[in-house]
Symmetry: C2
Subunit: 211 residues, 2 copies
DNA sequence: AGCTTGAAATTTGTATACAAAATAAATTAA
DNA sequence: TTAATTTATTTTGTATACAAATTTCAAGCT
């Protein structure tokens, strides 16, 4: 378990609920669990805290933040502002090669039989990133990546959005169509709708059946 | 030099150019300089890295990121999206008490004689935060705080925007007027103009005379 | 009972020492 | 001379040990 991989592993385990939300994490227990000393554990915790994937629990310890519908709504609202911005900034630099690569990702999602819900979610996000990366906007990409990681935890293995997956997937194809046809405004409008739907689905679900 | 204060001190010293941009930081030298062992230094570095106030320099070491006009422009564009959002979300919760406190800050900026440029900058940001905090949106506030910290470093002790200070200050008073009069859309429009002007001032300055 | 107060125990924070990796330097070959 | 490869040196990464702080829990008080 090397440094970078401890951070990755811990992040994944947070997503997957190995460390329950709202309960203070114990550095010693984490050390034992991951078979390393407390020093690399502390490094990883510090980083995760700065990314808001962990929050303070009392004066000194950290915990996985409890999920609230209000925060989920907030995170989606922020994405709703920033992702269209990323698409607009990317547009002038979008090449057929990039659109082609995005297309490949959609094909993989369709045809690859043995994909877990988590895998599908990861590919979906890769699709979005593929387009946004053309924006050449490192800070914006960093923020979007961070925001995505946070909302990911709300999806709880994507059971929630499975129904929505088909609609969502259709919209991805449409998005590429519009971009190929140089219809930026229409593409942005579609993207906004796309994000808003996902956000509403999640928040309404959370309000019915909290965390 | 306790843990939290080391982080604060290091951050301030980065702003003030104690550690030159583009040069790899040395943990040992930082330890010597701040009179602590490398462990708390590492903790602080890790946090600053996650906040993008430090970036990788090679495979293992960190550095203060060089400033580019393109990145400054990007950061202001992001603020241009998120700050109006914060103001809109804050608006329904804005009380006369809050607006009064914001007013007090403006008075302090006007009347307090012995304020450094840095102090004035800090009070300016406090003014904005005072309004945004009513939004009760922790994630949005966290992002805005982080973004502000990043652009702060571009201002190089605010010499740049000294000319602009008067106009900016006027606009702050106008903003409060509009909010008191429940003119949200007009207030948002003014805020956007406010941010855009500051952004253009900075980026044009950086393009003339890089970093 | 409920609320303080004050030890005891746990947990986090830091220093030192050593291992691993990365960078710099030097040697050799083309 | 330049490029590549090896060796030396520096620098970062991690473990262990100890200090400081926080949390827990129990006793005493109102």
């Amino acid at each position: 378990m090397t440094k970078a991989s401890l951070y990755q592993q811990l992040k994944q385990d947070i997503r997957q609920g190995v460390w329950p939300a709202g309960v203070a994490l114990n550095q010693q227990k984490l050390s034992d669990y991951y078979q390393v000393s407390r020093i690399p554990v502390r490094d990883a915790l510090q980083q995760l805290k700065a990314e808001a994937l962990l929050v303070m629990a009392g004066k000194a310890s950290l915990m996985v933040p409890p999920l609230t519908a209000a925060e989920a709504e907030e995170l989606y609202q922020i994405r709703l502002q920033l992702e269209p911005m990323a698409l607009r900034r990317a547009f002038p630099q979008l090449t057929f090669s990039i659109i082609g690569q995005a297309e490949d990702l959609l094909h993989r999602i369709e045809h690859d039989q043995n994909l877990s819900a988590a895998d599908r979610g990861a590919l979906n996000w890769q699709f979005h990133l593929m387009l946004y990366q053309a924006s050449q906007s490192p800070h914006l990409l960093r923020l979007l990546h961070s925001l995505h990681q946070q909302v990911e935890r709300y999806l709880g293995f994507q059971e929630i959005s499975l129904n929505y997956a088909d609609t969502s997937h259709q919209e991805h194809w449409q998005l590429l169509e519009l971009l190929r046809a140089q219809q930026l405004d229409a593409a942005v409008a579609l993207l906004q709708q796309h994000i808003q739907q996902a956000g509403e689905l999640l928040t309404s679900h959370l309000r019915q059946q909290p965390a």
